[in-house]
Amino acid sequence: MTQVLSEHAAGGSHSGALLEVENLHVEFHTRAGVAKAVNGVTYSVDAGETLAVLGESGSGKSVTAQTIMGILDMPPGKITGGQIRFRGVDLLSLPEDQRRKIRGEGISMVFQDALSALNPVFPVGWQIAEMFRQHRGTSRSEAKKKAIELMDRVRIPAAKERVNDYPHQFSGGMRQRIMIAMAIALDPEILIADEPTTALDVTVQAQIMGLLSDLRRESDMGLILITHDLGVVADVADKIAVMYGGRIVEHAPVHDLYARPAHPYSKGLLESIPRVDLKGQELYAIKGMPPNLLEMPTGCAFHPRCPYRRDNCVTDVPPLYSISGTRDSACHYWREVLDDGSR
């Protein structure tokens, strides 16, 4: 794979981040019409960096990830614009067989529900070993030994005894660890975790987050953490991209966003987190429904739900205003939002 990429990035002239998504557009052609799932998403991740992509269902965060991986079902999906550059090479222009080599080795992915993401008819050790067998041609016994090492690395107790067990014999947290073991088996440079803790208990969520964070540090991976839960990313993420209606509405270092959000949607999300010091008060909720992708609101997609709405929000699509070198917000009135701060 390294060869493939170096051929394309001849001269190694690229100076950008390890993975850059630029102005990506993805549509789904359905019987009901064209659903614009991703409308110009731009983000980047560098080695050793953690980007949290935050958004509710239908905000386009998973579709973006699937497009990066190249596992989007096409049709109905269709990439209508943009670039995804991995080490400076546009993945979207690579032929399928070269993209396949990048999957698993260059960019890898962890799925939400590990039970359904593991093949039910094979032992977990076999499935991890398969990664080495298919990409590296490792021998059966050697691959199994590596599978046990990996199971140890993701802290599965008694890995040696459990290597021949089937996915349904593991608890939810252990299954997610196995999924992670498969994803990191070939030392990928980028790991995408699509809601890795959503299907898990709260106590286990923290363990899995801790594990992902440790693994990232140990091997200097870039980590893209997709989630709808602001609570789980605070400790592990470096920067955060908030998505709404297929666009990034705010992009900021994680602590800046928590301290002073610059978009009404991020502000609403932060305020809907239950807090001990506000016990007894009614919990805030963002009014209204997520946008219908078939019929996007005009202007700013968030305007029907926005407390800061003015007339021009209905007509003018806000660009991604640059607030500082590291912060952007797609709100015409970001100054106002920023000054209000969070509750």
Binding site: M69, I71, D97, R100, K101, I102, R103, G104, E105, S108, M109, F111, D113, L115, S116, A117, L118, N119, P120, V121, F122, P123, E130, M131, Q134, H135, P157, A158, E161, R162, N164, D165, Y166, P167, H168, Q169, F170, S171, G172, G173, M174, R175, M179, M182, A183, L200, D201, T203, V204, Q207
Partner: protein, 316 residues
């Protein structure tokens, strides 16, 4: 299997995630097939059909174990004599031992049934898997082709094909006679298996583990053979077992109509066909082969249904 509570917990896959989840060694790995076997071995219908299957297979492989008579030795003077101590099932029209002919008839019927089923699984399975995996025009091509074949009534199709390509005047050897019937059964039967394989693969295709396998770099070949096929095998297996039974019946039907197997092959269908006109004077010559035929069909159908029930998670 001794502790139902443990099984329950394992099947549900829930449990304290922070537990040091070390299974005892007695807890053997439980897969779909282990579960299926556990259910199968508790069902009498499975054991009955298994014993009958073994009997029929032994008959097909070593007919001389069951009878010392020569099925082709004819004593014309004894023609249509009824059952006696000397010949348990009596003699047929040409004075051949009916029991011996029933025993020797197993081979042709089972060989035709099993080989035709294998060919059907191969044709239908490949068409179904490729159609479901590649979708679009590949799927349309196989589906429409299958519908065209299914549109022809089974027996009519058999009569047309067998009547044209295997005229009765020529006298090829036993192998050729059987090969033609096997081919016709499979050519007429593959669309049903294609539909089963297709729907099973379509179901497996949209599972997360197929997406995950793609995301981790698996190619089409690996996805089909390691992910789609193993997870679609159950319905294909069940249907094929039942198909063996129905093909044996279909072979007998064709033989009865004079277009299937014919002498020198010995088969139940031929025996029935030869003696339908003598049913009032000597029913035994037709009845006993018919009983063997029915039992054999029943064996495969019962076995298939036992396996199907055992694989059905709702019955667990």
């Amino acid at each position: 299997m001794s502790d139902p509570a443990v099984t329950q917990d394992l099947v549900q896959g829930v449990g304290d995630p922070s537990e040091p989840a070390v299974p005892t060694r007695s807890n053997r790995p439980r897969s779909l097939w282990v579960d299926t076997w556990d259910i199968l071995k508790r069902r009498p219908i499975f054991w009955i059909s298994l014993v009958m299957l073994i009997l029929f297979l032994l008959m097909a492989a070593f007919p001389s174990l069951f009878t010392s008579k020569d099925p082709n030795f004819a004593t014309l003077s004894k023609g249509m004599d009824g059952p006696s101590g000397e010949a348990w099932f009596g003699y047929d029209l040409q004075g051949r031992d009916v029991f011996a002919r029933c025993i020797y008839g197993a081979r042709a019927s089972i060989v035709v049934g099993v080989l035709a089923t294998l060919l059907t699984v191969l044709l239908g399975g490949v068409a179904g898997v490729l159609g479901a995996y590649y979708a679009r025009w590949v799927d349309s091509l196989f589906s429409r082709l299958g519908e065209m074949v299914l549109g022809v009534p089974y027996v009519l199709g058999g009569i047309i094909i067998l009547g044209t390509i295997a005229p009765a005047q020529t006298s090829p050897n036993e192998f050729m006679i059987m090969a033609v019937v096997i081919l016709v059964l499979a050519v007429l039967g593959w669309p049903i298996l294609m539909r089963i394989a297709r729907s099973a693969v379509l179901q497996a295709k949209h599972q997360d583990y197929v997406q995950a396998a793609r995301a981790l770099g698996a190619g089409p070949f690996r996805i089909i053979f390691k992910h789609l096929l193993p997870n679609s095998l159950a319905p294909i297996l069940v249907y094929s077992t039942i198909t063996v039974g129905s093909y044996i019946g279909a072979e007998a039907t064709f033989s009865l109509l004079g277009i299937g197997l014919r002498p020198p092959v010995i088969s139940w269908g031929i025996a029935i066909a030869d003696h339908t006109r003598y049913i009032r004077t000597g029913a035994h010559a037709m009845l006993f082969p018919a009983v063997f035929l029915s039992l054999c069909v029943l064996t495969f159908v019962m076995l298939g249904e036992a396996v199907r029930d055992a694989l059905d998670p709702k019955l667990r």
